[in-house]
Structures are given as C-alpha cells and as structure tokens.
C-alpha cells in the first residue's frame, strides 16, 4: 500500500498547513474527545486527528468531519496492523463504526485506536466479543466457528482432509469455549473462557494488532511529539 505511506509522510506537511488553520476548532475537538478517551494524551489525540484528516483526504477547514470508508480502513488494517483475514477486517470495521453509518468518524477512530494501542484487558475483551458478534445476547454457532477457522490450517493434501481437520479443530475449540455445553458459544461462555486463559482472547482469529505493529504505528503517528520532545 504505497498510498498510505505517502499519506503518513505527507502528514507533517499537513500539520504545517493546519497550524495557521482554525486552532480553536481543533482544540475543541481534542477537548471533547479527551473526555471519553483517557488513555491518550491531548497531544497524541491531536496527532491522531491530523492523521485522520489526512487519511480522509479532506483539506477543508472542518476537522473530523465525515469519515473513513470501509476500504480505506481495511487498507490501514492490512498495511499498518498486519491483518490479513478479510472477514475479520470487515468485522473490525464494524466494531469501530459504533453508529453503523459505514464510516468511521474521528471520535470512533480515536476511541477504536485507544483499544488497539492502549486497551486494558477488559476493553479488549469487549472489543473482541463485538468483533465476533457476541455483544448483547448473541452467540456463535458451530458453523460460524467453522467459517472463522477454516483458513487456519496450512493447506494439506486435499480439501476434504482440510475440512475434516478444521472440523476437528472446531470440536476442540468448542470443547474449550463452550462452558455450558449447549453446542454454541455465548457471550458469557466467551468471557468466562477468556478470563480463565487470556491466550484465548483472539480465539476465533486475529482481530487485535500485534504489539510490534502497535509500536510501529505509534512511532509513526506520534513522531511529531517525539521529535519535538528532543
């Protein structure tokens, strides 16, 4: 994704451009977001907003308007956070998009990233269950698990064998996750199993960025702050 690299590197220029812009509007936005998102410093929020703006590609003076569409977001997930699973990337998009308008607005952006980068275990647990459609009283059926896990085995000799292998894997997963033995994984099951063993947080597929990628992203996104500190 060369475009993103360009976008990110262009960011500093944008920052210069925004300097003489309406600083007040920006400050206001930062102020309001920092009320809900505690894990970022204000300067960091500012950086993220600027990054958002450059990603959206708007050059007009209204900060944080409109949003990132699904394709742009998937590109970000892929190139910066190293995600590969299409289905799960879509689901992560929907988890970010709280108001379900198919765009991620600036507030959703900062909030979602706070879980990605600085989320506590509880926050991540909540996020994952949203990604896996578990919020509320939802549940995951056997078939859905199969769908989510079907790509997790390296291609063996034939498709049939792979299917068989995945089926067995689903059995194992169900045995592990289905605490009440009703043949499906409910939100309660999920929470309970993950609390017992944190390794199971992303049991149905990767939906959180790896630590290494997070560090890279932070280094890139907050580079202004970091350089100005020295």
């Amino acid at each position: 994704m060369p475009r993103l690299g360009v976008v990110l590197s262009r960011k500093s220029k944008c920052a210069e451009a925004t300097l003489d812009m309406d600083q007040k509007t920006l400050n206001k936005l930062v102020e309001s977001i920092s009320k809900t998102v505690k894990s970022f410093k204000k300067s960091e929020i500012e950086c993220l907003i600027q990054l958002f703006d450059s990603l959206v590609g708007k050059t007009d003076r209204r900060f944080g308007s409109c949003g990132i569409d699904r394709n742009t977001f998937r590109r970000i997930l892929h190139s910066i956070f190293g995600m590969t699973n299409d289905m799960l990337m879509n689901r992560v998009f929907f988890a970010f998009d709280e108001d379900n308008d198919n765009y991620i607005n600036v507030k959703e952006w900062v909030k979602g990233l706070s879980v990605f980068l600085r989320g506590t275990f509880e926050e991540k647990l909540k996020f994952c269950s949203e990604v896996y459609y578990l919020n509320g009283d939802g549940y995951i059926s056997r078939e859905e698990i199969f769908d989510m896990l079907k790509n997790s085995l390296s291609q063996q000799s034939s498709e049939e064998e792979t299917d068989e292998g995945v089926n067995e894997l689903v059995d194992i997963t169900l045995k592990k996750m289905d605490c009440d033995n009703d043949g499906k994984v409910s939100s309660a099951d999920f929470t309970k199993a993950v609390r017992e063993d944190r390794l199971l947080l992303e049991v149905f597929g990767p939906c959180l960025p790896e630590a290494k990628n997070c560090l890279n992203f932070e280094a890139l996104a907050f580079r202004n702050i970091m350089t100005s500190r020295f």
């Binding site: 790509n151 085995l153 894997l169 194992i172 045995k175 990767p206 290494k212």
Partner: protein, 1045 residues
C-alpha cells in the same frame, strides 16, 4: 617398489632429497622384504640378474675393499667385479666408500658379502636412490603411479625395439610385483597397530586430565593441548600437519620428568621437537619411537605415571569403559537390533552382564555421596529393578513373550528408578551424578491411553496450524493433566516437544507463552528435562530471558528452574550466558523501567524476581554456576530480596544462598551482605520450607566463627532451639539440628542453648530419628559435652545409653560424631562408669578396625578419656583380646590424624606398667621412632608424649636411641607450639636417663634450646627442661671426673 617407498615408508619430515629413513618397525619390515627379494633374485631369475641397469645405484658403503674376494678384482681402495656389461664396464665398482652397482646379480652378491650389515647397506642404498626404478629401467619408467601407468610402461617396452625389451619387461613386472607385495606387507603391519583417531585421542586426553593435578596420587601434574582451537574434524593440528595424519599436540608434565611435547597422530604417539617459549610453531620433527597410544607412551617415559596409573587403573578403566559406553550408546542402539539376533549364544549374557554391572556401579556411586535419609530405600531392591528393566529393554527384541509384562508394572518400575535421581539432584551440591536414566519409549503395540491419541491430534494442529489454531491447541493441551507421566511422555513421543521448542523461536508472543506454560509443567519429569536439553531448548529459553515481556521472562525462568535439575542442563544454562540474565531478573528496580507499551500478559516485577531466584536455585547446584552467580553480582541482589516478606520469594532466595554457602569463599560474601541477620529473621516465619532452608543456610555458614557469633547476636539461637520441638518434618529437623550443631562449636552459643533447654531436647532426639538427624544431633551433643555442666546434664537426661547404642552403626559421619560425643562424656567419671557398664569401651575399640580413617581417629581420641577415667583401666584394656596389638599396628597408618590419636591412646595405655610391657613386646618403640621425622605439630606433641610414657619400661630408653628417635625430637623444640615444647621436653627428660641419648642430644644442640625453655612460664616445661639439662650435665661431670681419676 616405488609406490611403497614413497607412500608407506616413514621418511623423516625434512622432506625429499636429503631425507633419511627412520628406524621404525614398519621401515625395517619393508627393508627386509627388499633384501629378501634382491638376495633371491640371482637364483630365481638368473637371466634378468644379468641385465645392466640404465644407471648404477650409487651410495656410500661401510664395506671395506678387503671384504670382496673371488669374482672381484681388488686393489687398495677399489674393487671391480669380474662380471662386465656388454660395453665392458664392471657391474660393480667400489671406490671406498662410494659403491656403484648396475645389476641385480651384483646386488645379490653384494648383500651376501655384507652379511650382518645388510640392513644398513640396504637402507643406505634406498636413501641414496629415492627412485630406484628410474635408475634401473630408465627415466621413462618413473615411479609407477597405478595400474594404468604400469600398462603404459609395458606398452612402451613392447613398442620399443630394444633387444633387451623382454628382459626389461620382465623386470618391470617383477618390480611391480615387489611393490605390491611391499604395500601389502606394510598394510598388514599398519593394521596391527591400533590406529588412533581424533575422538579416541581426545577421550584419552580428557581422561588423563581428570586424573591429573597437584598431589601425590595423580598420574600427571598436567596435560594440556598446545592449541585451543579444534577443527571440525576433531583435530587440533594445523591443516598442513593434518596431511601427515597428525591430530594434535599436547604438553604433558609428569611428576618425575620434564614437560614433554607430544604429537598424537593417526599412526601413534611420539615425542616431537618441543616448543620454545618464544616461538609459535612447534618443532614437528619426531624425536622418539612411536607408541600405540598416550598411556603406553607415558608409562614408558615416566615411572611415577606407571606407578600411579596402576593404582588408578581400575578407576581409569572404569571411566574409560563408561565413556565408551556413553560414546557408543547411539550406534549401539542401532546395532542392538542386528547384533542381538546374531549373538544369541553366550555373548548375549556377557553383553547384558556388562550393562548391568555398569548400571550397578553407577547406581552405587550415585548413592554414596548422599547421606540423605530418603535414599535409605533398599539398594538391593533397586538394583534388581534396574536389572529387570535392563533385561526388559534388551529382552523385547529377543523373545516377544517377555514383553507381556503389564504396562502397569512397567510404569511402576519406571517410577522407582527415577526417584533416586530426583531426590539426589534436589538434595545437595555434592551429588551431581549426571546419569542418563533408562529411556522408556512407549512401545507402539502397548495399550495406549486415550490421552495419547488426543494429544497426538493437538500436536498435529501445533505443527500445521496458523497462530489461531496453535493457540487453541496449546490451550487445550493444558486441559490435560500435565502432571501425569502418561501425558508428559505422550507429548514427547508424538514429537510435541520439538514443536513446543520451535514455537519458542517464533515471534508470536502468545504461542511462546502457551508453549512455555506447557513446558513448565512437563519439565517436572526427568526424562522430559533431558529431551528438552537434547533438543536444544535451553539456549532458546535463555534468550527469552531478555524479552520485554515480563510474563515470558517468568515462564522461561520457571521452566529453566525445572530443567536445570541435572548437571548437563546447568552447564548449558551457564554456557549460554543464562546465569547473568537470571541474576539480572533479580533486580526488581531495574526491571520496572519498561516500555510504555502495555500488554495483556504482564505480571509484577516481584514475580519476575521470584522466578529468577527459582531458576538460580536450580542452577546453583553446580560449582561453576555458583561462581557465575557471584561474578554476575548476584549476592547483593539476593541479599536485597531477602529483606522482602513474600514467602514465595524467600524460599528460592534462601535456597540459592544455602547452595552457595557450601563453598567457603561465598560464605564471605554472605557475611558481608548482612545476610545472616535476615536468615535468622526468617527462622521465625510460619513456612516450614522456609525455616528449613534458613536453618540449612545457617548450618552451611556456621562453619565460620564470626557467623556463629552473628547468629547469636541476632537472636537466632532461640528459634532454633524451639524448632527442635517439632519433630514431624524430618527435613526441617535435620536442617535445624545441623544449624545447632555448627553453632554449638562456639562456647557462648552452648551456654545459650543450655538456657533454652535445647540440650535436654537433643538428648530426646537420640532415638527414633533418621540418620540425617542423628548425625547432627550427636554432633551437637559432642560439642556441648565439651563443658562439664553439659556432660552432667546429658547423663542426667539418660543420654549415655542411646549414644553408646549408636556406636554399632555403619554410617561413617554418624560414627565420627558419636565417638566424639562418647569421648566427651567419658571425661566425667560418673558417665564413664555408665559407658563402661554398657561395654562402650569395647565398642569404641572395635571401631579402630573401621576402614575409614576419620572413624579410626575419632574412636582413638574417644578412647583416651575412657582409659583415663575408667576404674581399673589397665585390667579393662587387657581384657580386650588382641586390642593392644591392634592399637600398635595402627601406628603404621599414613593418616596424620589417626597417628596422632593413636599416639594419644598409647600414652594413656602406657600408664599401666603391664600394658606398657605388652605394647613394647608388640614393637611400639621402633614404630614410634619411625614417626619421629614429622612436621605436623599435633602429631609431634602426642608422639612426644607417647615416647616419654614408653620410656618407663625396660630398656625402651636405650631402644629409642638405637632407633634414632632422639635427634628428631630435639628439633621439635624449634616448633612454635608450646604444647609440643612441653611434651618434647618431658620426652627428652625421660630419654636423658640414658648416657648415649645425652650425647646425641648434646650433639644436636639440645642444651641451648632447653636452656631457653627453662625460662618458659609453663612450669611443667621448666621442670622437664631443667631435669634434662641436669642429666646431660651430670654425664659431662661424670666423664670429666672419670678422665681425671
């Protein structure tokens, strides 16, 4: 001939041209063959014998012209053969000392004439003519390289229209045949010698190294390679020397010979030109004969080596066998299948017997150093178990019916075999036998539990899944009971260990965590530990210790703690820099500076430190690791952690300290870090294990007087005394009694213990306790009873009887302590009466026959107060049949402590005139006199006392003089020890009753020394010295008087 000469013959290294043939058996054989060939040539091939060589063979001979007779024209200094070639030139021409020969016929004759010097002449000839074939047949027929070259020659000969071609061809064939023959011969010769290879050489050197060092008993002072670098083929010689088959060079310093520089080559071992200090290169030239291996060589060179070697031979052979056994283990397994079928006969039994013997020796060896009470499991029983399992292992392939042993029983066997290893590796630093346990692969046809198949399935997902599948499989695997051996072995047997270890090498934090969590659990199994080490798991885990993730560090450290239970693993941890990293984990403060990044899997810093301590505890059982911990600055950190109040933390910390405290130089560090204070504090903890380790650490440290005082000053004696009352936990009791024993070496501490009523409690512990505890209890009582009040106390509490009862034991450490305690009690007459009544003296006396010198010495010391305080001591001593002879014969011992103690016993025995008469008859005087030349002050003192006592009988005074005991005694007066002075002065006083002795003393300058002694504040010494001088003076006066009258 050419090939044989260039390839097989051993030329000196100086290169071609001027080289000379070495005198080796091989060369001699080759020369003899050539001589035989040439000598018989004239008879076998008369036609070809006349053929004139293209060029003459020319060399310097030692033969004189006069040696030639008929058939030769002899003048003053020249000899011509009557036989000439077609040009009229003589075929033999000698112009002393140069000789030229041009036909085989003449060569044959020449050798016949040479007779005794044949060999020399042949050698000179070959040396001077490095390419005889060329000279004989012409330069076209250079050294025949191989068959095709030979054919070329034949070809050439056929094409050539030379009239002599037929003869030439025949000669060429004959020479070729000789060449082949020579090569064959030399091959036979070579194969007779055992060829060395880098591995055998290395093994020999390592073995010798193990038996080398300072001291009388070792075989060598030192043995070292000249180069540290080892090539991948196992050689250490530089590549250009490896061409000559040289493997390595060693510098050997035997006890009685200068340092030798030795070349080990494939052909054997020989002395080379040595290495000068300022030169880098070794002089590779061979300087001596070739021996088949190092040991043979050294035996030849060094008398001391062969003497000590014969002493060590058994050991050495055993080691060698063991090495070999280990070394051969791998191929043997493969061989086993085929071999076993092949040698069904008697071979089989010996083969197995060997195996069992080996197992036995290892077993017993392993048991020996540990006095751990747990190991008192019947040894015999275990041996038979090993035997069983061995047989089972070997038997399976031989006859299938035997495999019908139920899996249950097999498992039982397995457990009981592993137990001892467990116990020992956890007990103490001394028992570090690195023994490979019997491997139990589960037989494929055995009934496998369902877990086995389920685990196999999970391992499949570990191998073939992405991160998600791997994590699911890892988490599911942990749902099995990983503490169960079936599951542990199942993971290994389906190849799970490899995968788990491979996962540690990936970037996936979650996989690493999951994998380590499993490894941590299953590494409780000794077999799994070994497999992990074999698969190279330790270096990877050591690397993880650097990870930014604390939980990963913790898990890795905990797993290392489990794995490092045997020596090879501990060494691996050290060699990969693990100790430094583990010590770094202890530094909580430093750890807290972490990257801002938070992770789901984090733990507290304290936990990291705890895991680090846990791993260090395991590692600290190896000496080199203790050193590494010290070097890495571990002690200050451990001391700091000791101030915390978490029991989980304290146990491994104290455990590590306790292990390290077994070495004296670490005790100094422990003292300087104010560790004792905290150890004492933790004695008051609620946790029994912590108490145990604290007590154990104090036990180790309290060898040092200052530490003993520190324990008292920090109030550690009271908790120790009160812990004595809880006797359920035997390990802790052993540690506590141990600490009390060592602490009670200081008198102030004994007073405190009496205050706390510890002595009464100790007496109560004399019965029904495991040996471990008894050793310490008795040791403590032995120390306490040095004081009068305590002796009375022990008697009143009824301690004498159980103590005397313990005299019949077999535990050496216990016997040393018991004899000491009984001896201490015997200093009090009333206690002595009880001991006498219980026949304790006889028991002590019979311990003089104990094989171990410590026990002998201790028993002899104990006998002294017994004889001193017993009623009718003389009668009692005489009642022991053969007892006096036994004591006198102990004077032949070579242990100084035994000698000193026996001298002391003899001093007491000799107080009774009748007994003195008996021991005199047994030859006590010459034996004592023989000991006189000693520098050991303790022995000097008791020896002098014994001599002075023994002077009281018959003509013993004179006898001591005759046996030259007087002069050495005079020298004792120059010692720094007043006790020696006193005893010596008394002995000299006794001896000076004899005139000859007075003369000897005077000659040796005793008077001046004694005059100094007269001024001593010690009254006994004054008196004895004065008495002696007066005797000498009186003699002088008497002589003068005699002269003038």
């Amino acid at each position: 001939m050419g090939v044989a000469l260039t390839r097989s013959a051993q030329w000196t290294a100086a290169g071609h041209g001027t080289g000379t043939l070495e005198i080796t058996p091989l060369n001699e054989a080759i020369l003899n063959e050539i001589i035989m060939f040439v000598e018989s040539f004239i008879y076998k091939h008369p036609q070809e014998a006349k053929y004139a060589f293209v060029e003459p063979l020319e060399w310097t001979t030692e033969l004189d012209a006069s040696a030639f007779q008929s058939g030769y024209v002899v003048s003053d200094s020249t000899v011509k053969s009557e036989e000439v070639d077609k040009n009229g030139q003589p075929l033999l021409f000698l112009s002393v000392p140069q000789i030229k020969i041009r036909s085989f016929g003449q060569l044959s004759r020449f050798l016949y004439i040479a007779k005794g010097t044949k060999l020399k002449e042949a050698q000179a000839c070959i040396e001077a003519n490095r390419d005889p074939v060329v000279k004989i047949l012409g330069s076209d027929f250079g050294t025949m390289e191989d068959d095709s070259a030979a054919l070329n020659i034949l070809d050439k000969i056929t094409k050539d229209d030379d009239p002599e071609r037929e003869i030439k061809m025949k000669l060429a064939i004959l020479l070729k045949q000789l060449d082949l023959h020579l090569l064959n011969q030399s091959l036979k010769h070579l194969s007779l010698e055992i060829h060395l290879n880098p591995v055998t050489v290395k093994r020999h050197i390592e073995l010798l190294k193990r038996f080398s060092g300072k001291g009388e008993e070792t075989v060598l002072e030192s043995i070292e390679y000249t180069s540290d670098y080892e090539f991948s083929n196992g050689c250490r010689a530089p590549p250009w020397r490896q061409i000559y088959g040289e493997i390595c060079y060693v510098l050997v310093k035997p006890h009685d010979v200068e340092t030798l520089c030795i070349t080990c080559s494939a052909e054997g071992v020989f002395l080379n030109g040595g290495k000068a200090d300022d030169e880098r290169e070794i002089n590779y030239e061979r300087k001596g004969e070739i021996y088949k291996d190092l040991v043979t060589f050294l035996k030849e060179i060094s008398a001391k080596f062969s003497e000590n070697m014969s002493k060590q031979e058994i050991n050495f052979d055993e080691e060698q066998q063991k090495e070999k056994e280990q070394f051969d283990a791998a191929p043997k397994k493969e061989e086993a299948a085929t071999n076993h079928k092949a040698r069904l006969g008697s071979d089989k039994t010996t083969y197995q017997k060997n195996h069992i013997n080996l197992a036995k020796t290892q077993m017993t060896k392993r048991l020996e150093p540990s006095l751990n009470w747990k190991t008192s499991v019947d040894i015999k029983d275990r041996k038979s178990l090993v035997k069983d399992s061995q047989e089972e292992k070997h038997g399976t392939r031989l006859d299938k019916t035997r495999t019908s042993i139920s899996p249950g029983r097999a498992q039982l066997l397995r457990k009981s075999i592993e137990k001892p290893e467990e116990i020992i590796s956890e007990s103490s630093s001394e028992s570090e036998e690195d023994e490979e346990p019997v491997d139990h692969r589960q037989e494929a046809n055995a009934d496998l539990p369902s877990e086995y198949w389920q685990i196999q399935k999970l391992v499949k997902y570990l191998k073939g899944g992405n991160q998600t599948a791997t994590v699911i499989a890892l988490c599911s695997m942990r749902d099995f009971n990983l503490a169960q051996e079936t599951c542990q072995l199942a993971i290994r047997d389906v190849g799970g260990l490899e995968v788990l270890i491979n996962l540690l090498d990936t970037d996936e934090v979650k996989c690493k965590i999951g994998s380590l969590k499993i490894l941590k659990e299953i590494s409780h199994n000794p077999q799994i530990r070994r497999s992990i080490v074999d698969l190279g798991g330790l270096p990877i885990m050591v690397n993880i210790l650097d990870s930014p993730h604390k939980s990963l560090k913790c898990l890795a450290a905990e797993t290392i703690a489990n794995v490092a239970k045997f020596r090879r693993a501990r060494r691996a941890v050290r060699q990969h820099g693990g100790i430094t990293k583990l010590v770094a984990l202890l530094d909580c403060a430093k750890n807290s500076i972490e990257p801002a990044q938070s992770s789901l899997y984090e733990t507290r810093d304290v936990e990291v430190a705890r895991c680090g301590a846990l791993a260090l505890w395991s590692c600290s059982k190896s000496y080199a690791n203790k050193e590494a911990i010290r070097k890495a600055g571990g002690f200050p950190l451990l001391a700091r952690l000791l101030k915390t109040s978490h029991e989980d933390m304290l146990i491994p910390v104290v455990g590590t300290l306790q292990e390290c405290a077994s070495e004296e130089n670490y005790r100094a560090s422990i003292k300087s870090e104010r560790i004792i204070e905290n150890l004492v504090k933790n004695l008051n903890s609620e946790n029994e294990q912590l108490q145990e380790h604290c007590a154990m650490a104090i036990y180790q440290c309290a060898e040092d007087e200052e530490t003993r005082d520190l324990v008292r000053l920090h109030g550690g004696l009271k908790p120790l005394a009160s812990l004595l009352n809880n006797t359920d936990n035997k390990e802790r009791l052993a540690a506590v009694t141990g600490a009390i024993w060592k602490c009670s070496i200081s008198k102030e501490n004994v007073t405190k213990f009496r205050e706390y009523k510890a002595i009464e409690t100790l007496v109560g512990l004399l019965t029904d306790q495991p040996e471990e505890v008894l050793v310490n209890v008795v040791g403590a009582l032995g120390e306490c009873c040095q004081e009068y009040e305590n002796r009375v106390l022990v008697r009143r509490c009824g301690g004498i009887q159980p103590l005397v009862n313990l005299l019949v034991g077999i535990n050496q450490a216990l016997l040393v302590n018991v004899t000491k305690a009984v001896g201490a009690c015997a200093a009090e007459p009333e206690s002595m009466a009880i001991i006498d009544r219980l026949d304790g003296v006889r028991l002590l006396w019979s311990l003089l026959k104990n094989p171990h010198p410590d026990v002998k010495a201790s028993a002899a010391w104990a006998l002294c107060p017994c004889i001193e305080n017993a009623k009718d001591a003389g009668e009692m001593v005489r009642s022991f049949v053969g007892g006096l002879e036994l004591v006198v014969n102990l004077l032949k011992s070579d242990n100084k402590e035994v000698l000193a103690s026996v001298c002391a016993a003899i001093t007491n025995i000799a107080k009774d005139q009748e007994n003195l008469a008996v021991i005199t008859d047994h030859g006590v005087v010459p034996l004592l006199s023989k000991l006189a030349n000693t520098n050991n002050d303790k022995l000097r003192r008791h020896l002098a006392e014994a001599i002075s006592r023994c002077c009281m009988w018959g003509r013993n005074r004179v006898a001591f003089g005759e046996h030259k005991a007087v002069a050495p005694l005079v020298r004792y007066l120059k010692s720094n020890d007043t006790n020696v002075h006193r005893a010596t002065a008394q002995a000299l006083y006794q001896l000076s009753e004899d005139a000859d002795n007075c003369i000897t003393m005077h000659e040796n300058g005793a008077v001046k020394l004694l005059l100094d002694m007269v001024g001593s504040p010690d009254q006994d010494l004054q008196e004895a010295a004065a008495g002696c001088i007066s005797n000498i003076r009186r003699l002088a006066l008497a002589t003068e008087k005699a002269r003038y009258t």
